[in-house]
């Protein structure tokens, strides 16, 4: 089920960026399996009640990968699938960075380094008021260049926010070059661990491993969790994988057909 949802997320994401001639398809394909897993059953959410008080909170900090979230929300029933065609159009609520005007989206992002501090605030609220829901924040690897994330990590660990789960989409490719050659963040596991987090590494495209990881995170460990999801930018479309240009390019008609064909044949 998770694989099918992830592939549908990929196909709708491709169609959206094609129609809008938008960027960031590589980033969206990178997180499709993570979102397929979260929206496929890990998140405790109700599409009929987007603002249900007991829902888990999901925040996309890498807001440029929004098409994957819009597709997830549509495939789960938060919004109608038919409105995805308005992505990136004038006056559409589906803006090219994730928008809280869309039912099911908690927080608008676009500038990196904002999602985790905001999620920390939500997790702190839940902790202080005895709520059982969890806060998930999906982040990019490149955004760990932002100091605000490290500030937030210090705070989350200091306050033992074990209801906070950060996920790093570690595709190791940034806007112009690799993370390693841009602003190296390794050794990532050791850094997160030293910051007081429960750190888990997982194949970000292994749906079973992702599911097992998320469902096995203990809720009483007195420390926040961060999942390093090893991913491939552009995953699922061979000619987009690990290619920096697909941070920016949108596919032409032929490339779109080829990409969808490859995903459907997977």
């Amino acid at each position: 089920m998770y694989i099918e949802l992830a592939n549908q997320i990929r196909i709708h994401s491709l169609q959206m960026v094609y129609s809008a001639k938008a960027s960031h398809i590589g980033s969206a394909l990178s997180i499709a399996d993570i979102l397929g897993c979260l929206y496929g059953g890990v998140l405790n959410i109700d599409p009929q009640k987007p603002e249900w008080l007991e829902r888990d909170r999901f925040i996309l900090s890498k807001g440029h990968a929004c098409v994957a979230v819009y597709a997830s929300l549509a495939l789960c029933g938060f919004i109608d699938l038919s409105i995805l065609k308005y992505y990136g159009q004038d006056n559409s609520m589906l803006s090219n960075h994730v928008s809280h005007n869309v039912p099911g989206v908690e927080f608008s992002t676009g500038s990196l380094g904002h999602g985790l501090p905001f999620g920390v605030g939500k997790a702190l609220f839940a902790k202080k008021t005895g709520k059982k829901w969890k806060t998930y924040v999906l982040m990019s690897d490149g955004e760990f260049g932002e100091g605000s994330n490290w500030e937030a990590m210090l705070f989350a660990a200091h306050h033992s926010l074990d209801n906070l789960i950060a996920i790093v989409d570690y595709n190791k490719l940034q806007s112009l070059n690799t993370v390693e050659k841009t602003l190296n963040i390794e050794p990532l596991y050791d850094k997160f661990s030293a910051f007081g987090f429960n750190v888990i590494e997982v194949d970000g495209h292994d749906n079973v491993a992702l599911k097992n990881t998320f469902l096995s995170i203990p809720s009483d460990i007195n420390k926040p969790t961060i999942v390093i999801a090893h991913t491939i930018k552009g995953k699922g479309v061979s000619f987009m994988e690990n290619k920096v240009e697909w941070h920016y390019k949108s596919p032409n008609q032929h490339e779109l057909a080829s990409a969808i064909s490859e995903i459907m044949g997977a």
Partner: protein, 297 residues
């Protein structure tokens, strides 16, 4: 003003369980009454203002009214994008509190001079500026903000312990409060924030403004500009005064509100700090004098 702030916040927090205070590792000998009485709603974010503001927005998104507290530019410029994107754009009940408004920390150097903060905050569509002129206005501002939770900025200066209001005034955004009312005079000095004391100094000791009326406007924002022409029209001359640079400041805001009304613009003059003070350090009075705000001590 700081003491009036914490007194009122404690009083309001006893009535409103959703009020929280986050400090950026500042507030020694000020914030303890709140911290001691409401330990579950008091957080020291450490020296980390971006996270302080982002997490304040997260808390506010769940129903809290959060006050973030730090000195001068730390709670504003250091985390400007968090205020813009997280607080203002999402229209959340976060009140950014800055202490040392104007040149209250003049001796501490340029890093501590809050003379550009209005310009930053007033360019955000949802932010309400609360800039009280005395302790009574501090309490009035807090009461208004708690009754009307919204993105807001509370600028606290360091003024004398004089109160210019007998009672806590009732505030309405964009409305001028009468401080000195002389019906025979049709000229007024209009101040915001800690410049109120300076306005009174000008009125009492300069020949040019002798006996002028005095008004204070503690609450203002982008949304209140349409209210200004009607109020300016009541006077022959209006002089705005502020402990801030003119660029992006209170007087400039007033001038913008009168665009297209030449007959009203001709009645307006502004007095603000000269940018040359940015290179200087010294006491608040000294720098305000050198910056052209104070006439006499």
């Amino acid at each position: 003003m700081r003491n009036a702030f914490i007194e009122e916040l404690v009083e309001q927090a006893t009535k409103h369980e959703n009020i929280a205070l986050i400090v950026g590792d500042l507030g020694y000998s000020v914030v303890e009454p709140f911290a001691n009485q409401f330990p579950d709603r008091f957080f020291n974010a450490g020296v980390a203002e971006q996270n302080m503001t982002g997490l304040a927005a997260g808390l506010a998104s769940e129903g809290y009214h959060v006050f973030t507290y730090s000195i001068a530019n730390f709670s504003t410029f250091r985390c400007a994008e968090q205020i813009r994107n997280d607080v203002d754009y999402h229209n959340l009940a976060v009140t950014v509190v800055s202490i040392g408004g104007g040149l209250a920390y003049g001796a501490l150097g340029y890093s501590h001079h809050a003379v550009q903060d209005y310009s930053l905050i007033r360019c955000m569509p949802n932010m309400l500026i609360a800039s009280p002129g005395d302790s009574q206005e501090v309490k009035a501002c807090i009461r208004f903000l708690i009754d009307n939770p919204q993105p807001s900025y509370l600028r606290l200066g360091k003024t004398s312990k004089l109160n210019f209001h007998k009672d806590i005034p009732k505030l309405s955004p964009g409305k001028w409060l009468s401080i000195v009312n002389n019906k025979e005079i049709t000229d007024t000095i209009l101040s915001t924030g800690g410049a109120l004391e300076i306005a009174i100094n000008w009125r009492n000791k300069s020949t040019e403004f002798l006996n002028w009326n005095i008004h204070s406007m503690p609450l203002w924002s982008m949304k209140e500009k349409p209210l200004q022409p009607l109020q300016v029209a009541n006077f022959s001359n209006v002089l705005t005064i502020e402990d801030h640079l003119q660029d992006g400041g209170f007087g400039s805001w007033m001038m913008e509100s009168l665009i297209g009304r030449k007959e009203l613009i001709d009645r307006l003059n502004t007095k603000a700090l000269d940018p040359s003070i940015c290179k200087l350090t010294g006491s608040q009075n000294t720098l305000n004098t050198l910056g052209g705000l104070r006439l006499f001590d």
